[in-house]
């Protein structure tokens, strides 16, 4: 698992990367009540806002961690947004991407570095 400074986790699955938000992020957001997912097939660039998460407190975005194409989204999140709080690193993945550059993941934090970031 790799981690971004935006508190997303990235898990390699074959030639795809699965993206979700960390437990730390889910806890900070509070109870998630709405998730808006991108259309599969969308081409995104690093930093694009690809998902919207609304919690009881506020709205926030998930940014594309790398350049690539969204190939699959977790449609179950739209009906059960509370999964983001219950199982942020498991069932509540947001989308799967095909990377434009397979080496793009090299620069991200490993678990030890991420744990250091969130103190």
């Amino acid at each position: 698992m790799k981690y971004t400074e935006e508190h997303e986790w990235l898990r390699v699955e074959g030639d795809l990367v699965v993206v979700g938000i960390t437990e730390h992020a889910a806890e900070a957001l509070g109870d998630v009540v709405f998730v808006e997912l991108p259309e599969p097939g969308t081409t995104v660039a690093t930093g694009d806002e690809v998902c919207v998460i609304e919690s009881v407190k506020a709205a926030s975005d998930i940014l594309a961690p790398v350049d690539g194409e969204i190939v699959e989204v977790n449609a179950a999140l739209a009906d059960s947004p509370g999964m983001v709080n219950e199982d942020p690193t498991g069932k509540a993945w947001f989308f799967k991407m095909k990377l434009a550059n397979p080496k793009a993941l090299d620069g991200f934090m490993d678990e030890a570095a991420y744990k250091k970031l969130i103190g």
């Binding site: 109870d31 009540v33 609304e54 009881v56 506020a58 709205a59």
Partner: protein
């Protein structure tokens, strides 16, 4: 946060694991480990305990020592029938300004020889100065008492174990009860749409009293986050958001709080700041009014979202004053000011992240109230 004040329950909040945020000049609990959603649902299912000690508590005394004389005086600042407020009863009202806007909203209780007033934390200094400037009354701010709210279907049973007399109270009754020899000022009222009580008590016993309630299985501590979603489901206004100096009580759909005695043709018609505008709006209808909005789908529409009449084009016809997600109704909900020709049931469009999403003009409250009338 050096300049922020703390209530007498601050250390208790920390012990309970609260997340503290600045609010109206105080360090207040926004949520406890249970979280906003579960705290909200717990209050509707059992009983929630809220620390609202940041709010202003004020006693108004007339030289005569009669509450009715204080009521006559206070009527000069609020469009509410206070002379008709019976002893041991409480009423909702608002301070208006000369332009007919709202300076603050408040609760007034008749306690026989004086009035007891509760005002918003953010406005209390201005409210007290306003009353001192305009009322021939002794205006005493109470600074040594905490204020708690116990809300929900189990509130009567829980509070009744400590203070047996409260079970006989009806909605908006106000009385003084003893607990361990200490006087509690109790009203059957609140800000959640649930049956419940608000309890003013000496700081010295506030923690012990709160802990006695929290020791009961049905009582959980509830933070400001759930307080906001509970009041919004109940269709209640938050000062500074749904009402302010630019909104009149009539526009705010609070005309029910202006009794017949203060309206045109009433025994004491007018005689409050902004009466010309407020009485005109009562007669002719306001240009805009506060309504409920039920967004289609699940995306919340929050404060500041602009409302349009059509899915494309046109200028905004209004703006959301409060919005979020209602845990009990399991849907998004909002309140907005819209032109009065937009009828209940009409479809309007809120612009969220550049997209116009449909919403229905909906009756308030979103969640039926359960007051014990």
């Amino acid at each position: 946060m050096a300049d922020l004040l703390r209530t007498g329950l601050y250390d208790l909040h920390l012990r309970l694991g609260a997340k503290i945020v600045p609010f109206a000049g105080y360090e207040m609990p926004v949520q406890y480990p249970m979280g906003v959603l579960k705290e909200h649902l717990h209050t509707r299912a059992a009983a929630g305990l809220f620390d609202v000690s940041h709010m202003g508590q004020v006693i108004l005394r007339a030289p005569s020592g009669r509450a009715v004389d204080a009521a006559v005086a206070l009527e000069a600042l609020v469009p509410v029938d206070l002379v008709g407020l019976a002893e041991a009863r409480q009423r909702y009202g608002m301070f208006t300004n000369a332009a007919g806007g709202i300076l603050d909203d408040l609760m007034v209780a008749n306690r026989g020889d004086h009035l007891f007033v509760v005002v918003n934390a953010a406005c209390k200094a201005a409210d007290i100065a306003h009353m001192r400037a305009h009322l021939p009354l002794e205006v005493s701010e109470i600074t040594d008492r905490a204020l708690l709210a116990l809300q929900g279907p189990a509130a009567e049973a829980a509070l009744g174990r400590l203070v047996p007399g409260v079970a006989a109270m009806r909605f908006m009754d106000a009385g003084i009860f003893g607990w361990n020899g200490v006087p509690l000022w109790v009203s059957r009222s609140g800000y959640t749409g649930e049956d419940g009580f608000e309890i003013s008590l000496p700081d010295a016993v506030a923690v012990a009293f709160a802990e006695a309630l929290l020791a009961m299985p049905e009582v959980a501590p509830i933070g400001l986050g759930a307080r906001d979603s509970l009041r919004l489901e109940a269709g209640l206004c938050l000062y500074g958001h749904d009402i302010d100096t630019t909104t009149s009580p009539v526009e705010a759909s609070l005309s029910w709080a202006i009794q017949k005695a203060r309206r045109a043709g009433g025994a004491r018609a007018g005689g409050f700041p902004g009466a010309a505008r407020i009485l005109r709006e009562l007669a002719e209808g306001p240009a805009r009014r506060r309504v409920g909005l039920a967004p289609d789908g699940r995306a919340p529409m929050r404060e500041g979202v602009e409302i349009f009449a059509a899915p494309e084009g046109g200028a905004p016809i209004g703006v959301i004053s409060s919005g979020g997600f209602g845990p009990s109704i399991n849907a998004p909900m909002a309140m907005a000011y819209l032109p009065r020709d937009i009828a209940e049931g009409a479809t309007v469009y809120g612009e969220v992240r550049g997209k116009r999403l449909a919403a229905r003009v909906a009756p308030l409250p979103f969640q039926p109230t359960t007051f014990k009338r």
